[in-house]
Symmetry: C2
Subunit: 336 residues, 2 copies
DNA sequence: CTGAAAGCGCTTACAG
DNA sequence: CTGAAAGCGCTTACAG
């Protein structure tokens, strides 16, 4: 493998016997004032030399890069990849492309990626934020780089945002269970050592829904703990004086732990324990019994996020920032 | 929101009362010949102005970008995101970052992303290839951009590659079933309209394993069809003269379809139908009965891919290209 | 210890 | 229809 020198526009110009300007015109498809002979000659040389223009040079002149960043909190979440797929498809239709970056739940990494995306001069960024330090996101706003938040919000930052109506999600879960006569409903979610919007709002929604359904709120039935502690906590609360007869899983990862425990310990669902999960999961139909879930309208959320970002990128118009809340939907199956 | 002019190195230099060169020295942390007073002054101004150097300009001079591309065939596959997570972590330790791009199973998109990554001058690319047109990948080789293939190979391209020993995977599946006395073993996988390495190799491995186990090969028990046709095909083959008593699912998506069918139709597993899936899936333990799977050593594969790429990027040394084949592992559960 | 100058590979207004 | 020239925002060898 011989290390070949990178081909530049000058090489093409020289070999084609025209000026760099003309080659540049060709690259940018401004054929208007170009003889077809010149055009063909340039085309041939470009193919021969396998020339690819250096975007770094181009972007130095032309301010638009036609690239947006999608910075996800954690790429392992199904929600992230599904939104990515949808957003990308919309971008495609607008001649844009996406670089996906993964914060891996690490605020430090997120900050580095934001710096990198700024440095690469992306036209806009869709962020599933992990950090709670608003100064980081302020860089973007200072640089007038459009951003759209998805799934989570950050205190102190006002921008276009797209997320589930988490209160409604909890309400749907609680009220559905209440109708079936459940009174002792446990709520499990991941930690909120630092504020994570969906977790906080879903807990809050749970509390309000309990009140609305005239059920007694028992704080000891609310668990906000790390993944590996869920099974122990569940085991524990089964020995309460009044153990729960129903569980709401705050997200897909939590649901997985709960189902593992229930299966391992032969707790019959829904007879001994009703289960309802927020987030639709691939295996909801597969479990025995199939699991009732509260689904996010991912398709619409992805489209809205893409649309918001594209609007900001295209026109300079300054409509006020809006936080869009999407209504959840219950998918009734056999676990309640 | 007032559109602020982008801050450049000149702005910083002017405000700090030094030359651009000095600011540049500061940015690149060459403090050796810099008075601490100058250093502090520059630092202060950078913070005040919120200055972020433009990487496009930098990369025009400095050939290394410290960024690699990870181009996945389809970001919805768990394998992709798990490998991304692992690779990224290794890159992090080497001061590099990753831009993830999603081909969405579309060779045209893949080509565009390759062009974009070249244009952005990434230092290297990890590819889960979708296309079968080797000329596309040849661009990269022409440009001396290191590439590592993961999961799939491309005819006509020789480069470092990391993938499962697919023949061994099929062999494990077949021989395990054969030991349990199964003779009529069906194999389901997705289409091979154009060559997709794991699918082809797993079918091939299945055939060889059947021979090795002295079982009669029945071509009509091999299904290479699209996802939505799997359930019908399965239904069909249950009415064969000699229906299969065991099924091997060629990957996670196929397994999902098969389990859906079996559950819907109350086919008892493993009594009436043994099932074994290639690819470990999240819900393997959750299904009733739990599903025996053939797992890829994803951790090791991700690390190897990262290591190979970093080696090529760092040293110019020219060890020959190697295709690494990782041994699969069987995770025995209760479905066989 | 710091600055002036050339150059990276493009684009674009302008001249002809 | 095409080319010469300036400039985008950096870096770096060199001079002082």
């Amino acid at each position: 493998m011989n290390v070949k020198k990178k081909i530049t526009i000058s090489d093409v110009a020289e070999k084609a016997g025209v000026s760099k300007s003309t080659v540049s015109q060709y690259i940018n498809q401004r054929y208007k004032y170009m003889s077809s002979e010149t055009k063909e000659r340039i085309e041939r040389v470009i193919n021969e030399l396998n020339f690819r223009p250096n975007d770094n040079a181009r972007n130095l002149k032309v301010k638009k890069t036609k690239v947006v960043g999608i910075l996800v909190a954690n790429i392992l979440h199904t929600l992230s990849t599904e939104i990515i797929q949808i957003v990308e498809d919309r971008l495609q239709h607008n001649g844009m492309k996406a670089f996906v970056c993964n914060s891996a739940d690490d605020p430090e990494k997120e900050k580095e990626y934001i710096d990198l995306l700024i440095a690469k001069q992306v036209d806009g960024i869709i962020i599933f934020p992990v950090g709670n330090d608003y100064t980081v996101y302020n860089y973007l706003i200072n640089y007038s780089i459009p951003i759209v938040f998805v799934d989570r919000l950050v205190d102190g930052i006002t921008t276009d945002s797209v997320l589930l109506d988490n209160h409604a999600a909890s309400f749907l879960a609680v009220s559905t269970l209440a109708e079936k006569g459940h009174e002792n409903i446990a709520f499990f979610t991941l930690p909120i050592d630092f504020p994570v919007t969906p977790r906080i709002e879903r807990i809050d929604g749970y509390k309000k829904a309990m009140a609305a359904c005239q059920l007694k709120l028992r704080e000891e039935l609310i668990f906000s703990i790390s993944k590996d502690k869920i099974q122990d906590a569940l085991q524990n609360c089964l020995h309460f004086n009044k153990p729960p007869t129903a569980i709401i899983a705050g997200n897909d990862l939590v649901l997985l732990q709960i189902l593992k425990y229930l299966k391992k310990n032969n707790v019959s669902v829904p007879e001994k324990m009703a289960v309802i999960g927020i987030d639709n999961v691939l295996y909801a139909d597969l479990y025995e019994p199939s699991i009732t879930t509260i689904a996010q309208p991912i398709q619409q959320m992805g489209l809205k996020a893409a649309e918001l970002l594209l609007d900001r990128i295209k026109n300079e118009s300054q409509h006020p920032f809006i936080t869009y809340r999407f209504a959840p939907e219950i998918v009734e199956r056999n676990s309640i």
